[in-house]
Symmetry: C2
Subunit: 338 residues, 2 copies
Amino acid sequence: MKRTTIVDVGRLAGVSAKTVSRVLNDEPHVSPAVKQRVREAADALDYHPNVFAQALVRRKSNMIGLIYENPSPSYVVELQRGVLERLTGERYKLVVIPIRSVQDHAGEVVGMLRSAALDGVVLAPPASDNPIILNQLKDARILCARIAPTRLIDMAPSNLIDDVAAAREIADYVIGLGHREIAIIRGDPTHASTEARMLGYTQAFYKADIELRLERIEPGLFTFDSGLAAARDIFARGDRPTAILAQNDDMAVGAMMAAREFGLSIPDDVSVVGFDDSEMSRITWPRLTTVRQPVFEMAIAATEMLIAQLEGRDVTARITHPHELLIRESAAPPRSLG
Amino acid sequence: MKRTTIVDVGRLAGVSAKTVSRVLNDEPHVSPAVKQRVREAADALDYHPNVFAQALVRRKSNMIGLIYENPSPSYVVELQRGVLERLTGERYKLVVIPIRSVQDHAGEVVGMLRSAALDGVVLAPPASDNPIILNQLKDARILCARIAPTRLIDMAPSNLIDDVAAAREIADYVIGLGHREIAIIRGDPTHASTEARMLGYTQAFYKADIELRLERIEPGLFTFDSGLAAARDIFARGDRPTAILAQNDDMAVGAMMAAREFGLSIPDDVSVVGFDDSEMSRITWPRLTTVRQPVFEMAIAATEMLIAQLEGRDVTARITHPHELLIRESAAPPRSLG
DNA sequence: AGACAGTGTGATAACGTTGACAGTTTTATG
DNA sequence: CATAAAACTGTCAACGTTATCACACTGTCT
């Protein structure tokens, strides 16, 4: 079973392979009559070009990768939706490349990408923050665009939000409601945004002259389960906080679940706020107060940056996307203030 | 900037290109000494094979596609997780191919796949059920494995659950709780499982001698929003049902949200059950009673079937995966029965 | 000793497409 | 009308790898 090639099409249309190539790639200098004949021949033979032969000779694969290691399914979904959104109508295909642990395998990632022969990659956290990966990509001359890096911002095109300010704002809000006994559930320590958000919280605490007690800071991993476990720890201890700041929505929803297990009502007994505005924050009850990170838009923008580079257009080096405090029903003044 | 090729490696190691190829592909008939030399030369030059040249000559791309058009993010996540799980450690890469509307674009899908030159595809609903796509894949000799088809089961390897039985069981359960006034939120009419689940509900109603009133059947699209809208319609009407059967979890959670808007408590005022056991069913409060469809396992199995075909191994033609009724807290006897 | 199976190695020709260049015709220009 | 410019078309050699075949050598079995 031989594939039909461009030569077959040429034979049927009575022209050279090169001419067929020109027609199929919409190159100029082909007479309308020939164009028509070639098109018909191609249709008749149900011809589809061999992308490998093209990729080989053009040195371009029309495939881009999305690299992530993200414990939050809703985050990953948004990410991918954004990339695919920008890719509709383009000839690029998306190859998804989840990494088990960027921290542990940073050295191997780029080698893998090289064999995959992608035209470029979109880096999501924490790969977008990893200096080893960034440097190796540069050495291997693989183009990239980044989502939510917090370091080395100018090393490659970046899509940011101001994590510190966003975290500070939601902490300000919670403090503004009257809370003083506030617990924090941290994100995955290998993600740089964890520190950034922590810093934002700290600034808000400092401004309000609230002491940040270490035992009120629980480790988490950005997963629902880690939020659930952290909040169980928090509630199991004697001095229950009146509010919980979770560093993403998954953990916040986990914390809400834990509160229910302890018979606590939200927001009356304990306020819970998240971070991201992922889909799940809208489907819980009460709906989660959170701060929106426009992941979908950031993914679109990153993909745009990548495509711009691939096509040799000018590239915006950095976009800081707006965040937004979304006040919903999961946080309220502490009961003592009624 | 020239790429380093197999010839360069050969030159450095003092052997022919073919010998390098043999070493790199672990073919026999190479002396240990040469093997060693070639390996060192390849390392020294940081050589990575060009996958396109390989694909061209081997007629094999080592890429597989995942085709879906699925409105439920959590379903898609599970699907992808399963495929990627089976692919870890394999040399295959995953290309994701979301289709806007399989119904409308069935004729174009396979052409697209052909140009993408994938070795095979995993078909998720509703593409797994589409006869046009299946036939064209067959004609184009693109291998495939299917997830949750309901028709033409023997046309290609399939991973099923018994949708009818599963739907009947959860309806039986709700009826068993004492409900008689039951509304149904249907799924996307272009997905064949919608009819299958409907049939299961119908059987349960018939067995219990409950009339299935048409005005109690609301259309939906498997999305949270469609479930929300459908349930609003249901609650806005005079004769409120005591239970709602939603054909997936997304819509069930939407219905729970609608109930809250109407000040109804779950399960006291109204019971809600879903279908799938997607992640969201565990994070709501009360947790959603549903019937588990092992999407993750089905995706792993489908990928295994595809790989087996690609490697010429024997392929299981059909696996019926177990479903399981998961009784949680979102359904209870109707208030009238206490 | 001769035949024979295997092992190790290289030369050459694909795989299907496009880039570079050259040749031929048509059209525009002075 | 001559001539330059543009439009059209074809030839040939890449692109980087592997398949196929050929050859030389090493044992092993009659």
